[in-house]
């Protein structure tokens, strides 16, 4: 059943494409990158053995074009395709099409994706396997039935889209009076976002923790979990800090939830790497939330505490190898933490920030890893996800990991038009509740409502550095006489345009 993989097409961009390319290089597997016209100069393109342009910048004309990606794979004679995360990674039809084209899809089978892709189907599947799900109702779309079920569940509750994701088609209902209106608006939004207006009801879990388990399954029926990741630190449903182990799990609960995660994955006939997400309430009761049928953004946290390279493991499983370890051989060591670096401007309401990175210097040191998709000279465009890098650290203890992360963020130099959320991440790390491990999914909204970076006088050191930089760089190439721009295309005196300041 083993098929050696010799050449992989990476159907993604940014840091995850770079991450996968590096794993392939280590394994001596040839690589093909695909890219949009906007990404011709991107890091992932430069790192691959071959690269194929698949269309214009907008994702639906390039990274979401299954036909062009498959063409590229055929033309370059690849035998496998890794989808990364996002774009087509959880598209079951794409997974099937890749296999029909005679390629190995590095991920689960299409039917396992379908079983877990619909939130209601996933709830039924795992509930049958004995995994606790959030109490809810999904038996009917009739308003009278839904209203009766809502009374039984109790308020507040959530109306959620069956095809949902990313908070779309989701409504919180405080009391019975608001139910019908919320049903209608959730349906409208779901129809628009997913082309499917089915909804279901779920009990509202107050101030939950988001704790997810990494699972891996091979083609021989082995399914193992690799511990948890606590992703409770979220801003507008977007995870920003993840860690393992979770500050609220002990060995007993970890064993229990891990077994539930394995049971959920088995129930779906799941193979390759996936993630079972749980909500954990204030009484440490856990409920299945959903399954992500792909590699997660935050997978390095698990790699750090287990010492297992998940991308290499994915490729080995896809090639037909058996899991090289059993559950009892998985050991968690130390504490791992990840911060997501977003190109956004915390001083301007966290709006996406675009432009060129003039200088990037990544922090390097013991226990510090940076997975970056952009480097010096790269352009951050508005077309794609604003997450440009992840900083991952390992510490002996949680406190040690926080200290190391603080060091790493302080030493991550990203200069240019692009601004980042690093000042915000540092404020989160410094917060007392986070330090105490008390974060839940409402922590950021609660503790940082209306937050913006402290406005301070520019320190003399920054001004002195700027002045010296200019003096020292102008002595090597003598600056031209005022008014003359001959031979110096970069002279500020020659500029006739206006430019923005982005402090």
């Amino acid at each position: 059943m083993s098929h050696a993989i010799r050449k992989v097409l990476v159907a993604n961009r940014g840091e995850i494409a770079v991450r996968i390319l590096r794993a392939c290089q280590e394994m001596d597997i040839a690589t093909v990158a695909v890219y949009s016209e906007a990404d011709a100069g991107a890091l992932h393109v430069a790192l691959a053995d071959e690269a194929v342009c698949i269309g214009p910048a907008p994702p639906r004309e390039s990274y979401l074009r299954a036909d062009r990606i498959l063409d590229a794979a055929r033309k370059t004679v690849c035998d496998a395709l890794h989808p990364g995360y996002g774009f087509l990674a959880e598209n079951a039809d794409f997974a099937d099409a890749v296999r029909e084209a005679g390629l190995i899809f590095v991920g689960p089978r299409g039917d396992a994706m379908r079983a877990m892709g619909s939130k209601t189907a996933a709830r039924s599947t795992v509930a049958r396997a004995g995994v606790p799900v959030v109490p809810g109702y999904q038996a009917s779309q009739e308003e009278t039935n839904l209203a009766a079920a809502a009374e039984e569940i109790g308020y507040p509750l959530l109306v959620k889209a069956t095809a949902g994701g990313g908070g779309k088609g989701m409504r919180m209902v405080e009391a019975a009076g608001g139910l019908i209106e919320s049903l209608h608006s959730a349906r409208r939004e779901a129809r628009y976002a997913f082309g499917d207006d089915r909804i279901y009801l779920e009990k509202w879990i107050a101030e939950p923790r988001h704790v997810e388990f990494q699972v891996v399954g091979d083609h021989f029926g082995n399914v193992v979990h690799l511990g948890e990741r606590d992703c409770s630190v979220q801003r507008r449903h977007q995870k920003i800090v993840e860690e393992s182990p979770s500050p609220i799990l002990d060995d007993a609960l970890r064993t229990q939830m891990g077994a539930a995660a394995v049971a959920a994955a088995r129930a779906a006939g799941y193979t390759n790497a996936g993630t079972i997400e749980f909500l954990v309430d204030g009484d440490r009761r856990y409920y299945f939330l959903e399954m992500n049928t792909r590699l997660q953004v935050e997978h390095p946290v698990t790699e750090v505490v287990t010492g297992i390279d998940l991308v290499k493991l994915q490729l080995r499983i896809a090639a037909g190898e058996a899991l090289p370890f059993a559950q009892e051989e998985v050991r968690l060591r130390g504490h791992a933490m990840e911060c997501r670096i977003y190109a956004e401007d915390p001083a301007a309401g966290f709006l996406p920030s675009t432009g060129r990175v003039r200088l990037a210097v990544e922090p390097v040191g013991p226990g510090v890893r940076v997975d970056a998709g952009v480097t010096t000279g790269d352009e951050v465009a508005l077309h794609y996800d604003p997450m440009i890098a992840k900083v991952i650290v390992q510490g002996e203890t949680r406190d040690d990991a926080i200290q190391r992360m603080e060091w790493a963020l302080r030493h991550y130099v990203i200069l240019g038009e692009v601004t980042t959320n690093i000042p915000f991440l540092r404020a989160v790390l410094a917060h007392g509740d986070f330090r105490a491990g008390r974060q839940d999914t409402a922590f950021v909204e609660r503790a940082f409502a209306g937050w913006s970076p402290q406005q301070r006088e520019t320190p003399d050191a920054a001004l002195i550095a700027a002045a010296l930089h200019e003096r020292l760089s102008s002595t090597s190439a003598a600056s031209p006489a005022p008014g003359s721009t001959d031979g110096d295309p970069w002279s500020p005196w020659a500029r006739t345009d206006s430019f923005r300041m982005t402090t």
């Binding site: 003039r358 200088l359 520019t458 320190p459 002045a467 200019e470 500020p492 300041m501």
Partner: protein, 175 residues
Amino acid sequence: MKRETLYRTPARTYSLTAEESALGWTIAVDGAAHSVSVRTGERGRLALEIDGRRVLAHVASDGARLWVHVEGETWSLERVADARSGRAGEGAAARASADGAPTAGPIVAAMPGRVLDVLVAEGDEVRKGQALLLLEAMKMELRIAAPVDGVVRRVHVAAGQVIERGAALVQIDSA
């Protein structure tokens, strides 16, 4: 050789003079002198010692725009004038007029915007770097600072006024 440069941030304008001697640099920020030694490294790295305190900085620039990373924080600056050459730079919102001498004509708007506040009156004595006007342009608040020490001869605009590119803002007679 002493030479003065103005750097602007959204908050204010700073005057920097730098002079090199056998002992190192003397750099004054708004007139306050610091004794500085520097070693340059790769990729915009500067190892500074400022009045005996060691500071590691990284600097990147694009024309008159500069970005500095120092002690974990990032600062954005714009060079607006170089006093030695007596020529105003191409400021984001205002620059000196035609022949480049900052004292010869009114300060004009380099992009359209709106006057938020006028901070000086005709006849006021002003110091170089002192804020004269607050403008809103491209959704940003910008301070227009005096390019020289002098007296405000004429204020051409009022708070609330919408201005076009090239509009005269303030005329200053240099001291």
